[in-house]
Amino acid sequence: MSTDVTLTLDGRAVTVPAGTTLLQAARQAGLEVPTICYHAHCTANGLCRMCVVEVEGARLLQPACIVAAGEGMKVQTRSPRVERSRRTLVELLNSAVDLSEAPEVQAQLTEYGADRERFPEAERRAPPVIDDNPMFVRDYAKCILCWRCVQVCADDAQYTFALSFDGRGYETQIGTFFDKPMPETTCVFCGQCVGVCPTNALKPKREWLLQQGQTPDEIMALTRSERRRRRR
């Protein structure tokens, strides 16, 4: 099975084992392909389209995180078309989502010279923060729908299947089945989803309370009163 394929990345010949994605091949060759939704331990889905590259002969830009390297493929990872697409994509994301706590995306906005005001008509989605459990809060105004949390909750890691999708189109949002509060779902509070979230849409409760201006003592008091309540 272990046959090698040779492809050309930005004019450079690269040999990789068959089945390697273009993204892996590029990184092996030391070329930087930006990604947002990609996570090394999650199934790649090609959602954010930041990793698109131009493959000679293909009508469309191809997501490097999914497309496997093929023999003789000619790939441009930084052509003007690719760069323009990436810039518009981060601009679109910035117009729809609060990216203030997403350092990686912020860096990309800067790198690609994005115009943060390009889509002034845009209405950012502003769903309220969901604070329904003692462990973490969900602020979907910051969610870019990278799917990492859904995937680690499902068969990429935890096999808990507590997270899913609601709505469609612009209103698509990660949620629980029938919008049940977290403690009533299959969630085991493993924290995997919080760990992989790239934009701080999922945040530990303590961090969130601190940001809300509460002191550590107040937070301790909260947990104590909760414990007491539960004992009663």
Binding site: V67, S85, L92, S95, F119, E123, I144, R168
Partner: protein, 572 residues
């Protein structure tokens, strides 16, 4: 069932039919039912019964007769006489058709009395009939009516001849004959070869050669394969697939069985849009009937071939017409597309090789095998063979369902068959392919309708919806409508489609409201290009088409709106 049993049924049906001297066929598809066909049919049956004609006049339901805007439609068939089609048959007209056309003798009529000694009963009857025909004249659609005369019925040939719900009727018209022949005399490769020879291309919109697809599924490794009929028709104004499933369910099932035999599949699904309850009902009934007769299930026609079919009902998401989203939906997951490759032919339903075709494609299979691939390849243009069903809608005199050979020009479709634009208005554009298609202006009306010519114009054939617009329609507004549709139907998976279509819709709203500037137009074009090139599935990739094609052909309308917007912004 054995192949010879088909003849037995055919013979029995024909004997039965000869007992009647006339047949009244009442359209029973959704369009006519919505204009009162159920009542029409009841009245026909009641009046026939009232005049004790039950043993000589047969009243039955049939499939769509085409001219849906003039429904309910009723067809009268008498042996030895040309068929007569009546339009706008309300209960009252239905009663008069029976009483004035089918009652042989209502006593002496004034004309007949004048005839004096030469008065013969049949003369009297015919004179009476001629007079009555005058009273129904406004309802008669002449056979040479261009709407009918220019059509070529291959796939819809049995529409208006058979009762969709009766398997015996379909068999009596040659139904399941192709399956019997294929199973007993042809190899699976032979069937694939025949379909390849016919030049049939997928009727779902993209026009992928059907033979090539079948061959790749046949060649895919694996002993468990699936066949799916895509009946998740979602384009606004299009109802070809609905008609196929409602009116010729057995033809679709036969096509699926033939496909399953050809590619080596054992089970299949018909994926029906949730908004088509009548199609679901008739498919269910047809599948049950076919199982009862041994035309589905185990060891069909006594051969080793077994094939099971089940129905899956969609929940109303447009994107589920995309094949990978459709398969996710069949599997019980959220209907969202995934990247291809792997194509369904390699890894489809539950990771197995899957053949997925539009229901109209499947309906083409039996006619091709019945009349031969060479005959089929003789119809149409060089690269697009056969006929195509279109649903005509919008500002047109005759709206309805038509089947025409590929290569007819748009002008022939709009002005000859469609009867032109009503109320003396001028033609402006025809929108083909729904939200994924484009608007074609008057200067391209002489383009032959086939997959490649339409694509060259920035539109697509699509599943076959055609919306005709007159001079009153504002093209930016049309583009805004389709963009809203796409933004609403986006599954929300990839960024360009989820956010990009929404932004395009906002920009269009602004432009249509007269508040946009030239910069907004440029932004719209750039954004359209991005969404088209970097979206994950065909929905996003084709969503900008209505905008880009109207920008191409009706730029002046956008410019006018932008200019008025700029004027409004000037301080007074």
């Amino acid at each position: 069932m054995q192949p010879s049993d088909l003849q037995t049924i055919t013979h029995k049906e024909q004997t039965q039919r000869q007992k009647h001297r006339a047949r009244l066929l009442c359209c029973g598809s959704t369009a006519c039912l919505s204009s009162g066909a159920a009542e029409t049919r009841d009245t026909l049956a009641r009046t026939v019964k009232l005049h004790q004609l039950g043993h000589e006049v047969q009243v039955m339901t049939t499939g769509c007769l085409g001219l849906c805007s003039r429904g309910p439609l009723v067809k009268l068939q008498e042996p030895g006489q040309p068929e007569v089609t009546y339009a706008g048959v309300t209960a009252d007209v239905a009663r008069r058709i029976v009483e004035e056309q089918l009652i042989p003798d209502l006593g002496p009529s004034p004309e007949a009395a004048d005839a004096g000694p030469h008065d013969l009963p049949h003369l009297r009857a015919s004179v009476h009939k001629a007079r009555a025909a005058r009273s129904l004249h406004g309802h008669v659609l002449p056979a040479e009516h261009p709407f009918f005369a220019r059509q070529l019925k291959v796939v819809l040939a049995l529409n208006g001849q058979i009762d969709p719900e009766r398997l015996e009727d379909y068999i009596a018209h040659g139904g399941y004959g192709a399956l019997a022949r294929a199973l007993t005399t042809m190899t699976p490769d032979g069937v694939v070869e025949a379909i390849t020879l016919s030049g049939l291309r997928g009727r779902g919109g993209a026009g992928f050669p059907t033979g090539v697809k079948w061959k790749s599924v046949r060649g895919a490794p694996g002993n468990r394969k699936y066949v799916i009929a895509n009946g998740d028709e979602g384009d606004p104004g299009a109802y070809m697939d609905r008609t196929m499933m409602e009116d010729l369910p057995h033809q679709v099932l036969e096509g699926m069985a033939l496909a399953a035999y050809a590619v080596g599949a054992q089970s299949g699904y018909v994926y029906v849009r949730g908004e088509y309850p009548l199609a679901v009902k008739r498919l269910e009934k047809s599948i049950r009937a076919a199982y009862r007769q041994g035309l589905l299930g185990r060891q069909i026609f006594g051969t080793d071939f077994s094939f099971d079919v089940d129905i899956r009902i969609g929940a109303g998401a447009f994107v589920c017409g995309e094949e990978t989203a459709l398969m996710a939906s069949v599997e019980g997951r959220r209907g969202m597309p995934r990247m291809r490759p792997p194509y369904p032919a390699q890894s489809g339903l539950w990771g197995r090789p899957t053949l997925i075709n539009n229901v109209e494609t499947f309906a083409n299979i039996a006619p091709i095998l019945n009349r031969g691939p060479e005959w089929y390849a003789g119809i149409g243009t060089e690269k697009s063979k056969g006929t195509k069903i279109f649903a005509l809608a919008g500002k047109l005199t005759n709206t309805g369902l038509i089947e025409v050979p590929m290569g007819l020009t748009l002008r022939e479709i709009v002005f000859d068959i469609g009867g032109g634009i009503p109320n003396g208005r001028r033609f402006k554009a025809v929108q083909t392919g729904g939200p994924s298609g484009g608007c074609i202006p008057a200067e391209h009306l002489d383009v032959p309708v086939d997959y490649d010519s339409l694509r060259a114009l920035g539109a697509i054939m699509g599943s076959g919806g055609m919306i005709i617009m007159d001079e009153d329609s504002s093209m930016p507004d049309v583009a805004r409508f389709f963009m809203e549709f796409c933004a609403d139907e986006s599954c929300g998976k990839c960024v360009p489609c989820r956010v990009g279509t929404t932004q395009m819709h906002r920009l269009l709203q602004k432009i249509v409201a007269g508040q946009g500037g030239p910069a907004d137009l440029a932004k719209l074009e750039r954004l359209g290009d991005l969404v088209r090139r970097s979206s994950l599935c065909a929905l996003g990739q084709s969503a900008p088409n209505p905008v880009l094609s109207t920008l191409k052909y009706f730029r002046h309308e956008y410019d006018a709106l932008v200019a008025s917007g700029a004027a409004a912004k000037e301080p007074a």
